[in-house]
């Protein structure tokens, strides 16, 4: 049984080509999160991240637990970083299990990236080709064919969905446009002050058909911190705790970018089925959704996975206006990764908490009490159900 809650959140400035050291960004986010919870550095006794310090793709993860423990001078009883796990959500899930079993009381979960600065320097996209050497592992079955980016893998899911369900670019575009509108009420968003129309969306250059430039998320520099506390330690902090009511990490099908039996769905389906099996709550109880949008097509797939609509109905659900701020299920209310910037799912978690604490200001959904967060795409997925106490 989980006995875990989110008690504080923090985010650095989000920027492009800031040339700021990653640890600077992380420190801003960490101090903000601790202040938000009403905790000090001495209270933090756990630290987790995903995927840990990683040099393969420029700026993707310059900091691991080691660097952050050292820089912040933390004394911890529990630490963990892993690249294998339920997607970008794994550090939060591991923290929830750590506090539920008494390994730690307050865990600082972080994600920090400098992809914009790192990739601007060499004009290099995040392409998994190593450093001129030979490749191995699962990418060897994709990359030699010129399937060099997740965009090209996601596009083949999107294309299949159009073929099977009659989904359209305009429906995907509706999600991109509404997220951009939401970003206009989020001062931290990369595209704050830069609205986008459907014509802008449809007129953008094509990346991998049917995904165009605005179907893709935006590499940025930024850091985000979420503090996960033991339920009994969460009660008397600065804010009402946000309970982690359930989480799902299952992989019950053959989950890869190329071998999954049903190419209209992804691992999110496994994770969501698992999550709902662990709670009495139902999709109808959910007020807002924060769904990983590395590419636009992930959003309808997550909507179906969580059961907000049936298989094949995700794009139409969007097209009918359900995911807009005024719709039945406001989704990616802060702009998501496509309009606020890529924080690898931590931005989604941050936004869900912002809404549940009623701090969304111009983008606040009235009386939001229950949220789902889905992180990951393709063979990676973690899902979480959050409730304001």
């Amino acid at each position: 049984m989980l006995k875990a809650a989110i008690t504080g959140i923090g985010m650095s400035e989000l920027g492009r080509n800031t040339q700021r050291p990653c640890i600077d960004l992380l420190a801003d986010a960490a101090l903000e999160a601790m202040a938000d919870a009403g905790l000090g550095r001495d209270d933090i006794d756990g630290i987790t991240t995903y995927p840990g310090k990683h040099d393969g793709s420029p700026g993707m993860s310059p900091l691991g637990c080691t660097e952050v423990r050292e820089a912040l001078g933390l004394k911890t009883r529990w630490h963990s970083s892993s690249s294998e796990g339920p997607a970008q959500m794994s550090p939060v899930m591991i923290a929830a299990m750590a506090v539920s079993t008494g390994q730690a009381r307050h865990v600082l979960c972080f994600r920090a990236l400098t992809e914009s600065s790192s990739q601007s320097a060499g004009r290099r996209a995040s392409v998994p080709v190593g450093n001129g050497g030979r490749i191995d592992g699962w990418t060897q079955w994709l990359v030699p064919m010129g399937a060099l980016s997740a965009a090209t893998w996601a596009a083949q899911f999107a294309r299949r969905r159009m073929h099977e369900f009659g989904a359209t670019r305009e429906q995907l575009g509706a999600q991109c446009v509404l997220q951009r509108a939401n970003a206009q009420a989020n001062p931290r968003a990369i595209f704050h002050g830069k609205p986008m129309s459907m014509d802008d969306y449809l007129g953008a250059r094509m990346i991998a058909d049917p995904l165009g430039m605005f179907d893709c998320d935006i590499p940025i520099d930024g850091a985000c911190v979420v503090i996960v506390s033991a339920s009994d330690a969460a009660r008397h902090l600065r804010k009402p705790p946000i309970t982690i009511a359930a989480m799902g990490a299952a992989l019950t099908r053959r989950d890869s970018w190329d071998q999954r039996a049903d190419l209209t769905q992804m691992a999110s389906l496994d994770a969501c089925e698992d999550m709902w099996s662990r709670t009495d709550l139902k999709p109808a109880d959910v007020d807002i959704a924060a769904l990983y949008d590395g590419f636009s097509v992930f959003v309808p797939m997550w909507l179906e996975s969580f059961g907000f609509c049936k298989r094949g109905e995700g794009e139409a659900f969007i097209g009918d206006g359900h995911t807009a701020l005024t719709g039945s299920l406001p989704t990616n209310t802060g702009g998501g990764q496509m309009s606020a910037g890529r924080l690898h799912g931590f931005g989604h978690l941050h936004e869900a908490c912002t809404q549940l604490w009623g701090e969304g200001a111009g983008r606040q959904v009235a009386d939001a009490q229950t949220a789902v967060v889905g992180m990951g795409g393709g063979p990676l997925a973690g899902s979480m159900l959050l409730q304001r106490a």
């Binding site: 996209a125 392409v127 080709v129 190593g130 050497g133 030979r134 490749i135 191995d136 699962w138 060897q140 079955w141 994709l142 990359v143 030699p144 064919m145 010129g146 399937a147 060099l148 980016s149 965009a151 090209t152 596009a155 083949q156 899911f157 999107a158 294309r159 299949r160 073929h163 250059r205 094509m206 990346i207 991998a208 058909d209 049917p210 995904l211 190329d258 071998q259 039996a261 190419l263």
Partner: protein, 138 residues
């Protein structure tokens, strides 16, 4: 993407070498279970159907069908063509074996779902990459 585009290449290991090099003899080899004949791809050396660890690389017909595809426009690395077709092809012998590949020998705009295709190989260094073209005699 059919003429000497730059391709990041896999490391050749004893496990994968038959797949990546049999194109030199015009053959598409897929790992197969010696007991139940299930095709295993990507190759793992273990049959998930019958738990057997004896496997052999077997030549298949090289015929298949387009399961899904995309036309790529973004130049991810220098030297790539302006546009090329990426696809997942399911093999005629076993429909849950899919190869990520390029569809070549036709206008990218002419590629269709479930289109019959046949393998051909492009030599790049010490590898023969399996690509697929429309199959005139499906």
């Amino acid at each position: 993407m059919n003429t000497h585009a730059p391709r990041p290449l896999p490391a050749l290991t004893s496990d994968t070498m038959p797949f990546w090099t049999a194109g030199a003899h015009g053959q598409l080899l897929i790992q197969q279970c010696c007991l139940c004949s299930y095709f295993i791809h990507p190759p793992t050396g273990f049959c998930p159907e019958c738990e057997n660890s004896e496997t052999v690389y077997t030549a298949v017909s090289g015929r298949g069908f387009v399961e899904t595809f995309t036309v790529n426009y973004k130049i991810w690395m220098p030297g790539l063509p302006d546009r090329y077709v990426l696809a997942l092809v399911r093999l005629a012998e076993q429909n849950d074996v899919r190869l990520a590949t390029n569809i070549v020998g036709c206008d990218p705009a002419s590629v269709r779902f479930d289109m019959p295709v046949k393998v051909q190989f492009e030599q790049t260094g010490d590898l023969w990459i399996p690509l697929f073209a429309p199959d005139p005699v499906p």
